[in-house]
Symmetry: C2
Subunit: 536 residues, 2 copies
């Protein structure tokens, strides 16, 4: 059963070891858990639905609570403190494009706002229900989840857009194919959500971002159906896919998507390499990214993240041995861990690995073999559960991410960590802030900073701390020339910062485009762009 107020499946826990707790306690002070509100408490708060009965709409409080919020920290605070606020008036689970069209027609006629709902894993407020006079319908796509057509010759697969990551991969694997798109949220996020928010997967270095994988599809909009045919490439004016990518539910509902798939790679391996300091590590990873070596992943942790991961891993003895070895090889306190991966036919993949390791050696990288890489792969979707584990001990974990060109990477990393630390100092709290480059490109990298700090006793103080940190980090992103999101999207939380990179004219153009598909402004209002008249 999926947790209603945290990440993932209820049967899976991520227990923090004594050492891990000591590590956090030392840096942040002792944590105090709060008493979570119960699901029944939450349901009891739900007001009567304002929607007239409709055969496709479920208005049970339990269903509405489960579709009210995403996975951002303020969403968690609302759930855990039992302050869930506005919830949708109903949830529909259409099982065809026709039903989606019927629901949109109903919503238009009844002046109901529609929030498209995929896996509900947004960490940027994409699912937030605005309080107000307009009723709200959450439209879940999860019943649209089948592989409809697989074209082996063109390597294209057509899916219902509500398909979850694991179900998508299972259906492809049965035919020998993979999409290869593995965001951290993979287990609970959907294809349609990936496309609507411009998601990026951990192995995007091989498979590309979702922008490169999305070949065409069907979008139900208030103005009609937008059908986007598949072409390998086109110079026929403006690319309609690019109107859907990043539209965050504002122009309509993607019901079906055709994606570019690949044969399952017969060989895959992840290896860890350590560097003595950030300077060496960043130079190495940049050279690797610019080398055009066919790798599938490059993920570089800074010194504090490396230390944190080694501590949280729990294998104290093994880590001790590793650290003694690394220390002998010149990688001491400031050491940074690079995880690199290769996928594909065994011959070329091994050749790429050899090439990458040789290049890392030229930058004084110390290769420690495959064991840590295998562990990383095993645990790649388990790490998210750390948020639950930390919470139980009174600590919260939040993340902020951006992308910048290479000359701005190190300043951005420093600015993000300092912004968080400074923001919570005003609340008398310490922050344990660490960073990795989650995706690298020839041009630059994503910069992904994690903040761990103490949970407060009250909802108000928790929200105030989050707001202070979010504002400071977002301001640092803008000041250091980053995009407000590399992989999480805009939602409500990043919307105030979007104009800094798009400009007034760019914002106006986005607005004009959305209005064309949704003249009444009924689709996911307030997300991506603040509602017209509300600033900007």
């Amino acid at each position: 059963m999926q947790r209603w107020n945290g990440w993932g499946d209820e049967s899976i826990t991520y227990a923090l070891s004594e050492d891990a707790l000591a590590f956090l306690g030392e840096r942040l002070g002792p944590g105090s858990a709060i008493a979570d509100a119960t699901f029944d408490d939450a349901c009891a708060q739900v007001p009567a639905s304002r929607l007239a009965p409709h055969p496709l709409i479920d208005t049970l409080p339990a269903t509405r609570v489960r579709h009210a919020l995403g996975q951002s920290l303020p969403d968690w605070f609302k759930l855990r403190h039992g302050r869930i606020g506005a919830v949708p008036d109903g949830v529909a689970f259409p099982d065809s494009a026709l039903q989606v069209r019927q629901l949109l027609a109903y919503a238009r006629q009844a002046c109901v706002a529609v929030i498209p709902h995929g896996g509900g894993t947004s960490v940027a407020g994409h699912l937030t229900v605005a309080a107000g006079p307009r009723p709200v319908l959450a439209l879940s796509l999860v019943r649209l989840c089948a592989l409809g057509h697989l074209d082996r010759e063109a390597q294209l697969a057509t899916f219902g857009a509500g398909v979850y990551g694991p179900d998508l991969e299972a259906q492809l694997r049965a035919h020998g194919y993979t999409l290869g798109h593995y965001p951290q949220s993979f287990e609970y996020s959907t294809l349609g959500g990936w496309i609507a928010t411009r998601s990026s997967g951990q192995q995007s270095l091989r498979y590309g971002r979702i922008e490169q994988l999305f070949a065409g599809g069907e979008v139900e909009t208030p103005a009609g159906t937008l059908s986007i045919p598949t072409f390998p490439a086109s110079a026929a004016g403006i690319d309609l896919r690019e109107m859907v990518l990043g539209s965050e539910g504002r122009l309509g509902i993607l019901t079906q998507a055709t994606v570019r798939v690949s044969p399952l790679p017969p060989y895959e391996a992840f290896h860890a390499v350590f560097f003595a300091d950030w300077g060496q590590a960043q130079a190495a990873v940049r050279t690797l990214a610019q080398s055009r070596l066919p790798l599938c992943m490059l993920r570089l942790s800074n010194a504090l993240e490396t230390q944190t991961m080694l501590t949280l891993a729990g294998h104290k003895k093994l880590v001790g041995l590793l650290e003694r070895y690394l220390s002998l090889r010149g990688c001491g306190e400031g050491k940074c861990m690079l995880m690199l991966g290769v996928s594909g036919e065994a011959g070329p993949a091994r050749a790429a690995l050899r090439g990458a390791l040789a290049l890392a050696r030229r930058h004084k990288g110390v290769h420690v073999g495959r064991h840590m890489g295998d562990k990383w792969k095993q645990g790649r979707f388990r790490n998210v559960y750390l948020r639950n584990g930390a919470w139980e001990h009174g600590y919260v974990i939040d993340t902020v991410e951006t992308a910048v060109d290479w000359p701005r990477v190190a300043p951005m990393m420093a600015a993000l960590e300092q912004a968080g630390t400074k923001a919570l100092a005003q609340h008398g709290e310490q922050v344990h802030a660490y960073t990795h480059l989650s995706h690298v490109y020839a041009q630059g990298a994503s910069v992904y900073t994690t903040y761990v700090y103490r949970l407060a006793a009250t909802f108000e103080e928790n929200m105030a701390r989050w707001r202070a940190l979010k504002d400071a980090a977002s301001a640092a992103i803008v000041a250091n020339g980053g995009t407000i999101s590399h992989q999480h999207g805009v939602g409500t939380d990043h919307a105030p910062w979007l104009a800094a990179e798009k400009g007034e004219l760019g914002i106006a153009a986005m607005r004009a485009l959305l209005r064309q598909f949704d003249p009444q402004g009924m689709m996911n209002p307030g997300k991506l762009l603040p509602e017209a008249g509300g600033g900007l």
Copy 2:
């Protein structure tokens, strides 16, 4: 000096050999040249400019004639028959974004339509001047041609958007870099033109299409300046670059573009491989495209194109020897030539070449070594001159191109060749039609068909033949699920076919977007989308 009524530099000719002429004569009948109109004839037709004197605008007839048309076949007919039709009322050569803004302000105030002009190589009517009451200003970008900034760390170079291909590469080469974008028009086309029309270069397999190379820039629009910052990737809503790519001058004028560059490859080689028939050849090139081998080019000619190229090459003895050898190896009449290229560090490039040749062998490909590849590279920008050479003997050469997913490639090729043949049969003329796949992708390929047929004596008959062939080929593209352009853009010539792939809703969305930047419709009216009110 650049030819005013044909391709390229006046000092360069492409003489057809006796054998080549016999080859064409046999298939098409004898050609008859026409007497070309002179440049003075053309200038004498130019009416007085309707523009008030302006210090930045040149209204000399010679300048206006040289900016009136592009390189499409109807453009040539207009020039050669001395029937140039409407010309711009003046041509401006701004040397700064400020001057571009001043010119747009002037045009807006004076109700003047503006046609942005790069290298003037459009083959789709992007530069056509509409006859009518509204004066027209051609705005040439060629003075904006300098490398402004080179960021070696992020591998980004910022250029004035009017820079010609060779000048762009020369400025980069001085620093050890390349963009690697080589459309057939390279010598006379510009960076801004490539971006505005979604151009693709011959080595896009390595470097990517212009969409992948364009990182950001500055666009002067009637509604203001759109500044697009550079990020390696972003999930921040709709990508503004994608509004500019393929906008064909309709939303404003790109004055400056930042592009992703690469270190000059130390090694580059092109090799030829022959296959016995199309089936084997297409299967091989598809497998190569889907293999992820790091090649820089794959270009596959069908049997008739192979035969035509070998005949036109002129080296009768050498070709005879080659054909005897190929025949012994099983490649006879139906043989198809694949040109494949590798670029980069010598080690990995040679490894990729070995891998590709091994794969081709498994598909019964016969490798004939590097000589033909070297010849191809030497002549890659000379082949275009064949259009001039053929014209002088009374033959015209036209091309049509699209892109489709792999299952549609062979039917599309057959349909395009047949459409041309059938269309001109109604005019009592033969067509020599042959095809190559100019760009291949895992998903499919571009299909590029060349039509050679006889020049008629009159302008009217030439235009009628062109129109018949263009309409038939465009209808075949639509009927067979292709995009109306893979690399030439839409312009005026493809605009009537665009709705077939975009849908009414897609066309309306493009229109809404353009209107936001250009509310008066002053930018390149009639291109990409027909003027509002004139149907879709």
